[in-house]
Symmetry: C2
Subunit: 206 residues, 2 copies
């Protein structure tokens, strides 16, 4: 049992270390020896857990998918508020969670890591689903399009992720709140508008 715990800890340390190096150096340039050294693990132990760098990237991608699922499982009253909250949690999590950041990055640079490449796709699908639910709830203004809104939300969150690499302000609550403050009066049915919090509700606090 103790042995198993240690194996899980070692595996997690390797995933965390790999995520840091993929995020910093890119998948191609991250070396397995640096990953194992940074994790405080022997090269033999790394190869026991992961047969190749691609297998390690796959594990980082899977861990990132789990993080994303935690974020999108949060509940709020309405579908639209749930979406606003999830975008806030996503962006704030990107600020400190290198696994999630690396997961998005892997998808950009590495087509063959399916789970990594799938992270943006999963996020997009979830955003589209949330907006479809909002439409079903009658919460969207008649003249606005759920599809257009999904495109804007996916682009804005990807942009904050990119801009946040250079300047952390972009991963703070302010810029995303500005986006929602601008967007909501156009997107939401007017009777729903007063109930929506552009800066996120407590469910949107990571």
């Amino acid at each position: 049992m103790v042995k198993q715990d240690r194996a899980v800890r070692t595996r997690n340390a390797l995933i965390e270390s790999a995520a840091e190096l993929f995020d910093r150096d890119g998948y191609e340039h991250a070396s397995l020896s640096t990953i194992s050294t940074r994790a405080g693990v022997s090269s033999g132990a790394l190869h026991f857990h992961f047969t190749s760098k691609a297998a390690l990237a796959d594990a980082v991608g899977q861990a990132a998918v789990q993080r994303l699922e935690q974020i999108t499982q949060q509940q709020a009253g309405s579908a639209l508020q749930m979406l606003i909250d999830a975008t806030h949690v996503l962006v704030r999590t990107l600020d400190h969670d290198v696994v999630l950041r690396a997961g998005f990055g892997l998808g950009d640079s590495l087509e063959h890591v399916r789970t990594g490449a799938g992270l943006r796709g999963r996020w997009q699908e979830w955003v589209e689903g949330a907006l479809a639910r909002a439409e079903g709830e009658g919460a969207l203004a008649v003249e606005s399009s759920a599809r257009d809104a999904a495109t804007a939300v996916v682009a804005v969150t990807a942009g904050l992720e990119t801009l946040g690499r250079q300047d952390e302000w972009w991963l703070s609550r302010a810029p995303l709140t500005r986006f929602w403050r601008l967007m909501l009066p156009r997107l939401a049915e007017s009777s729903c508008l007063d109930g929506l919090v552009a800066s996120g509700t407590s469910a949107g606090t990571p």
Copy 2:
């Protein structure tokens, strides 16, 4: 004269080659020997033009700034249409211009390349200026904020740039048109709305 032409061509070939490798491998991992080989230039010629990799990155950054200036110098009737058009040209240019793409990327990864780091800042300043002019022209709806709009536009364009690395669709006209179609009825004063083209005017065709 012929000699000078050749020197300019060599310098430009080195800038283009460096941009490609910075964009693909990142600044840290791009090697000077690969850059000179790809440019079809000897290592001695590279060192004649650029004393260091940082000097080469600086030249890429400066070339990217020039590209951005060309994009933001395009004229259209109103400040708001000028902004819409410039975002379209920026995004379409990112699709094929590796110097511009590398310029944005350098700023993300390399703080000491001032001109590279400055590219996002310059774009942001220009967007803010265009929205301030639109406000001065009375083209913004009273209840919307030029500052909020600038944040959204900067985030969306950075997002399209990131998403476009994985899927070129994001650098096509459609996603940005969706963003503007959603945004304009909220942002623009209603009497201006009919004159605005979310998909860009001919001035917005690169």
